[in-house]
Structures are given as C-alpha cells and as structure tokens.
Amino acid sequence: MDMSCNYIQTFFPNHLLKVCPLLPTKKVVCGLVTREKAATTTDSSICSKTSSIMRKPLTKSLVEIETDHKLNKVVNPGKFGKFGGKFVPETLVACLNQLEVEFNFLLQDSEFQEELSTALRDYVGRETPLYFAKRLTDYYKNDNGEGPEIYLKREDLNHVGAHKINNAIAQAMIAKRMGRKSVVAATGAGQHGVATAAACAKLDLECTIYMGTTDMEKQSSNVLLMKLLGAEVKPVEGSFKDASSEAIRGWVGNLESSYYLLGTVVGPHPCPSMVREFQSVIGKETRRQAMEKWGGKPGVLVACVGSGSNALGLFHEFMEDEEVRLIGVEGGGFGLDSGSHSATLARGEVGVYHGAMSYLLQDEEGQILGTHSIGVGLEYPGVGPEVSFLKETRRAEFYTATDQEAIDAYHRLCRLEGIFPALEASHALAFLDKLCHTLPNGTKVVVNCSGRGDKDAATVFQYKQHLMQQ
C-alpha cells in the first residue's frame, strides 16, 4: 500500500492530490483538488492519513491508475448530459487521464498561464477587437431606420488567420511541458494544420499533419503553408474523418514521445473540455469589450458550427446568462433535402464517433455519411458533445445556411466592410438575413468572424465561373 502511495506521489503534483489509502480493495481512491474546491468524495472515516506530496516533474512513462467513476463527476466529468464520455481503446485511457491531470494542473499554474498569456498577446496578436460593423448594421435597418447593432468579433485578425491558433498554441505548450518531442494532428480545411505547424515551429516541436486528399485539393494553399512552416503533410485517401483515424493510428504507435493535438471540441474526454477552455478566451474578451462599449452584455451571439470550437469559444462565457441568445449556424450545402450538406444537428442522430457520444450524420446502418459544404471547415460529420448538449437542453438554437447564402454573405461583407470572412464564418453572417428583421431595435448582436477568407477567394472565383457557365 505504501508503495502505491509512493508511486502516486512521484507522478502527481503537489496540492492537487490528497491520497487516501483504501486497505480492503488495495485500490487508491484519490481526489484531485483545484484551488476552488476540495476533494471530498472519499469517506473521511477510512481516510487514515492524507499526505502532502512534493511536486516532481511528470515523467514520460504513462501513469496507470484506476479512476473512480465518482471522481470523474467531481472534477471534470467529461459528460454533458448523455453526450461526451471516453469511448476509446484501453491503451488510450491512461494517456487521456495523464493529459487530464496535466491540464487541470496547468489551469492553475501561474507560470504556464503567464507564458500562454504572453504568447497569445505577442505571437497570436490578442486581444482581438470587437468591431462595430456600421455599414452592415445600416444594411439590415428597416424602412423606419430600426434594426439591431452588429458587432464582429475579429478572430480573423489572429496570427494565421483563424481562431484555431488559440487552442494550437496552448496545446503545443502542454506538449512541451510534458516533454514530448513531436506533435501529430489531423486537419480538414487546413486551418488547424497551419495553426499547429506554426505553433510547433515556434516551440521547436516536430510536426506531422494528416490531411484527406480531397481536402488537400480544395485547400492547396494551406498545404503549402504547412510545408513552409516545416511540417510534414501526410495525405490520406478520403477526407477529414479518414485523416483523423489515420492520425490516431499514427499516434497510438508512438504514445510516449508524441502528442496528439486535437483541433476542435470533439473526441474523448478531456479533449472537448480542454479545447473549449482554450477557445473560451474569445467569450471572455467579448464580455469585457461589450461592457466597455455599451455597458452591458450582448443580446445575441451568432457563430458557425462545424464541430463547434469557435462557437463554444464565444458561447461558453455566456452559458449561464439566460438572457443571451446563442445561435449556431451549420453548413446547409446544397440544401437539407439534397442530401449534400453538413447539418449534423439538423439531420443527425445520436451515436458514438471519435471517442465521444454526440450527434452525427449516419445512415440507417450507422455508417458515417459523406458531407458537403462550401465552407470546408464545416464538413465534419459529427459535432462536439457539448454542442449536442446545448441543443438538447435548448440553451442554444441551431440553423443552417446553404452554400449560395454563404457566398452571398461573403460578397456582402467584402463590399460593405472591406473584410474577407472565411467561408465558414460566412455561414454565420448569412443567417443575419433571417435573424435581423426579427430583432427589436438596438439589439446587440455579436457575430464570431472566426477566420479570414483570403484562402477562399479562389473558391469564390471558381463558384462564380461555374455559375456563369450554367
């Protein structure tokens, strides 16, 4: 028993772990403590002693502990209602647990937080402005001159041009802390791949990005960027879902020196929570900026939803503020009835995918359906479990916008504000067409401009050519 105590002492950081040896079952029940709350699941009558533990650096080898089910609920359950969880092979469980421990520690570690904060400010370019889009606002005014006020949260101004880097830089820093030498990631549209490659270059980590061949064709400029940044790009036959699976396979073979950098709020616990936490800087800044600008909160938040990272990044801060409406907009492709879309929440069913229970687009036999959207970053057939939860509880509303509507919104923002939105973000902007005339005069609407659309100019060009030819 003492040996197991020592074992845990070696690997767990101080002030995080109160260890109570549990004699009868030769199992250790432990509580992970954060500064705000004390671990109390253990029965005090059997806790004969608690030991204070000196922090030693986490080693490279995996910590194999049995985690009590109750423990999960207290600290970070990984479940959002019935969604989420950890549906992974046994080999990965311990690894995920280690990641969770490290993550929880780093949330409180002021040195890490300061380093991250500096990187976000000096490298990424935060904080991003909350920009009052006057001409867009005027466009949506009715004949009486009434209408909502539209603000854009400018995630397009981030280094490498999208919100993805908020998460990539933080996780790359975690990888470095954990002593990993290389990073593995999968990317759909390429934004996450580019962000990861950039972060790895900055932190001197080897980087391998898996990308589907169909995506590589559509987003060739992003492929070039990744290569220039020193990453190895491995093509995988198919699209993002195939690239993901291949990436995980690649990672599992090299668990000790490699770190899998997930780009969005999907996957097994703790990934969705971790990614959301790093993206939540968007919402935190928005709250403060809204207070500075109009002395209140936003009335409505609008964001596009592929897997949900930029949406959760904006929404999370306001989840408890019931009066703030949360609206997610998915890729409607050629229309919901065409069968060619990516509207997971509109047309999907609950299932398990990539380690978590969530909505996903599947056929009657439970096979994953192919998806389509002109915003390649929205083409994920699943969606983050926390997003599914928001839908189920009706805390957030979800709609769709078609390819054509997104392209029109792209054009509109270019003309009216001189900003090229990413085609993904254009879906959120497209929804303003349906939303604005329903809102009372002066409602403050904040749209997450999650990325810049320079990468999409060629796509829009080809779309126009294609239309002209018809």
């Binding site: 400010r121 000096d122 490298y123 370019g125 991003t128 402005p129 909350l130 920009y131 009052f132 001409r135 400018r154 101004l157 981030n158 280094h159 041009g161 490659a197 950039a198 972060a199 790895c200 270059a201 900055k202 001197d204 400029s221 070039l224 960027l225 290569k227 220039l228 940044l229 020193g230 054009h411 270019c414 003309r415 009216l416 504000e417 001189g418 900003i419 090229f420 320079d454 100019a457 060629a458 829009v460 060009f461």
Partner: protein, 474 residues
C-alpha cells in the same frame, strides 16, 4: 593673419568653401564667426595645430569632411515649408495639381489638431485594423544568431503582419480615406504594383463607402490575377494601364493624370512616402504609429529604447513609419535594406539608394535608378513591393546625412530568410520583409551581446507562397 589656403567645391545647390588656417590660431575662441560673410557651419580642430572649417550657404548641406560628421537631427526640418528634406523632396508637379496639394497640406495640418478626427482614427486603427500590433520577442531567431560563446543580440519583431489585410499599408490607406471623407471627396484613386496597396485602398473604400478606382499595369494584372479579383470583390474598379512597360511606374503616371483631370472630386491615395509634398510627410505621419508603439512597448519590455531598427525599403513607407519616432535619438541605429535582385552588378535589382542617382520622379527629387539619358531603369526584385525604381525623398536625405544606413540583399538571400523565419518562429513573412530579415545574417555577428534589435515585420507572406515554393522546392 597667416595665409589661408582656400579650396572651393560646388555641389548641387550649395557652395562649400574650405579654409585651412595655419597657426598661431590654435584656439577657436579667437576666431570670430560673425565677421564672415557666409553662414558658419562647423569647425573641427585638428591635432596638428590647424583649424579646418566648412562654410556653406545652405545649412543642411554639410558634407563630410573627415570621418564622422557631427549633426543634430533635432535641428533638421523634415520637411521644410516647401516640402524639402535638404535638397530632396519638393513639389515637381503640373500647375493644376498645386492647389490640390496645398489644400491637402492645409487639411492635414488642421486634422492633426482635430481631436475628433484623431479619436475616430484611433478607434478605427484599434477595432478595424487591429492595432496595436505586438512587439514580439523572437526567441528561436535570437538563439539562431547566438555566437558559439552564447552571446548575441536580442531580436524583436514589430508585427505589422497581423494588421487587417496583412501589411502596414492599411495604416496610411485608412487615414487618407478618412481625410478624403473630411475633404468631401467621394472618389478615390490609387496605383498598385503587385496589388497590395490596391487591395488596402479598395478595402478602406469599401469600409467608408467611397468610389474606388485602381490603376494597375496590364502586365502586373496578368501576374496578380487573384489580387485583381480581390479588389473587384471589394467593389473597386481596376483599370489596366498599357503604356510604357505596363508596370507600377506607368500605373503611377496614369493615376497622376487622372488626378489632374478630376482634382475637385478625387483624392489620390499614394501608397508610399514618395511623390510630391505633402505626401511623403503625410504618409510618414500616418505610419509613424509603428514607431510610437515601439517606443512604448520597448519601455515596457526592457525599460529602454531599441538599439537598432531594421526595415526593408521599397518606396520606404514601413521604414519611415518605424524610424521616424527615433530619428532624433542619435543612439538608435537606423538600417534600411533594399532589394539587390540578381545582384548589384547584374543590372537587375532595385537598390535605388546604393546604385541610383539624384533626379526627379513622380513629383519629388530623390535618388532613382536611371540610365545615362535620364530614363528610368526597370527595376527587378522577387518581391513586388520593393520593385520601385525610386525611393522616398526623406530616405535619400537620411542617407546623405549619414543618419541612416542602407544595404541590400539578393533574391536568394531573401528567400532563405523567408524560409528561416517560417521554420524558426512559425511566422511566414512577406518577401519584402524577408529582405530586412536576410540582413540579420550580416548584422548580428557585429553586434555586442544583448543589443536590442527591432525588425519591422511589415507584412505576412501568404501572398508569396506560390513564388517561394517554386524557388525553394519545398
């Protein structure tokens, strides 16, 4: 009085007489300057008991006599009331434009004091452009340039690449558009080479709802069709220029012609610190925010000033934007890096300050690349933004005064630097900026340990990816 040997030399615009007075006048105090007919500029005392002095009519043309010239930049007029920086600059334009230029100058001075205008501009720079841009400590780049004993300078990047539209260009474009609006002008024209300034101008016109016409050389339009498409998406009209070599200088001439014709309704957004007064001064002032922020950030970060500032020089706007704040700080070294293209002796380069001669181009006197007949030589650089045969008059002045140093790097060196920053810091710099970065190779080994170097990362390199991949074979 012992016989004084006098030699007289004349350079353009000034007459310099050199007087050598032999002993016994070893004491300067005995010499009374007011008795002389010329303005007495400077006296140096040589160790061998003679006094050597420079007498000039024009107080700004002190030519170097021996070794370092002592000067006080704080006394310089940059520019003077006629828009000259020493002999450079000025207003060499057709009569029709004189009024417009004066009107512009008056408006500019008035708005400099207009609190409402300044606040509006500040708000737009903050919320629309995304200022202030960070001063980023490039740790891996610094490490790379450390000498074997672990010593080396500290390298900081001023992140103008993070601005909206991806370069410093927008600082000036947005301010000029706001100024045009104040002047009641509804029509904006601009010239563009590769398209960056065109896109920046079209962007601000979309933002302010102004009509926008961009002149672009027909040859450039072919090479940069995506930028042309972008400008059109932003609602601008792109007019092809077929005259001359159908490149930037011809587009500029065409834009000036348009302005002459439509001067009452139209404002010309010039993209750099070139052109007739008040443009060099105005564009510099609008970019000066770069240097102002840098001063503040340097103080916050290390409690002092930068030691060396490095920037690429095409027309010279990003360099002036960084340098201007520090010109009067003599302990801050200013280094501009031009494009040597295929090499300075190849004839295919854009190193105006190194290989050019003084002349008048686009309304200002400055150094420019010209042949023996005074015709403009077509410049070359792998980076379109440095591909300008002239240079801002203020740079010509700073060079002649010895206040700033100018060097050049080749296409290949720039490409290497492009790759290096991408790999070491995960920042893909514009090919223009890469020229400044390439100069670090020569500079860093010469700098004492701990020297603070601030390099203007004037733009991002997404636009250059295709070019780079072709050459780097990645």
């Amino acid at each position: 009085m012992a016989a004084a040997a006098t030699t007289t030399t004349t350079t353009a615009g000034t007459t310099t007489s050199t007087c050598r007075v032999a002993k016994p006048y070893s004491s300067l105090a005995a010499f009374s300057p007011s008795q002389l007919p010329f303005k007495f500029n400077k006296v140096t005392s040589r160790s061998n008991n003679s006094i050597r002095c420079t007498l000039t009519r024009n107080p700004f043309s002190v030519t170097e006599m021996d070794g370092k010239t002592e000067f006080d930049p704080a006394l310089w007029q940059r520019p003077d009331s006629l828009g000259r920086f020493g002999k450079f600059g000025g207003k060499y334009v057709p009569e029709t434009l004189m009024y417009a230029l004066s009107e512009l100058e008056t408006a500019f001075y008035k708005l400099a004091d207009d609190r409402e205008f300044q606040e509006e501009l500040f708000g737009i720079l903050k919320d629309y452009v995304g200022r202030e841009s960070p001063l980023y400590f490039a740790e891996r780049l610094t490490e790379h340039y450390k000498r074997p004993n672990g010593e080396g300078p500290l390298i900081y990047l001023k992140r103008e690449d993070l601005n909206h539209t991806g370069a410093h260009k927008i600082n000036n474009a947005i301010a000029q558009a706001l100024l045009a609006k104040r002047l009641g002008k509804q029509r904006i024209i601009a010239e563009t080479g590769a398209g960056q300034h065109g896109v920046a101008t079209a962007t601000v016109c979309a933002r302010f709802g102004l009509q926008c016409i961009i002149y672009m050389g027909a040859q450039d339009m072919e090479r940069q069709s995506l930028n042309v498409f972008r400008m059109r998406l932003l609602g601008a009209e792109v007019r092809a220029v077929h005259s001359g070599t159908a490149t930037l200088k011809d587009a500029t001439s065409e834009a000036i012609r348009d302005w002459v014709t439509n001067v009452e309704t139209t404002h010309y957004i010039l993209g750099s610190v070139a052109g007739p007064h008040p443009y060099p001064m105005m564009v510099r002032e609008f970019h000066a925010v770069i240097g102002k922020e840098t001063r503040k950030q340097a103080l916050e970060k290390w409690g002092g000033k930068p030691d060396v500032l490095v920037a690429c020089v095409g027309g010279g706007s990003n360099a002036m934007g960084l340098f201007h704040e520090f010109v009067n700080d003599k302990d801050v070294r200013l280094i501009g890096v031009e494009a040597a293209g295929h090499g300075l002796d190849s004839g295919k380069h854009a190193a105006t300050l190194t290989k050019g001669e003084v002349g008048v181009l686009h309304g200002a006197m400055s150094y420019l690349l010209q042949d023996d007949d005074g015709q403009i030589v077509e410049p070359h650089s792998i980076s379109a933004g440095l591909d300008y045969p002239g240079v801002g008059p203020e740079h010509s002045f700073l060079k002649d005064e010895g206040r700033a140093e100018y060097y050049s790097v080749t296409d290949d060196e720039a490409l290497e630097a492009f790759k290096k920053l991408s790999r070491l810091e995960g920042i893909i710099p514009a090919l223009e900026t890469s020229h400044a970065l390439a100069y670090l190779e020569e500079l860093c080994p010469t700098l004492p340990n701990g020297t603070k170097v601030v390099l203007n990362c004037s733009g991002r390199g997404d636009k250059d990816v295709q070019t780079a991949i072709k050459y780097l074979q990645v």
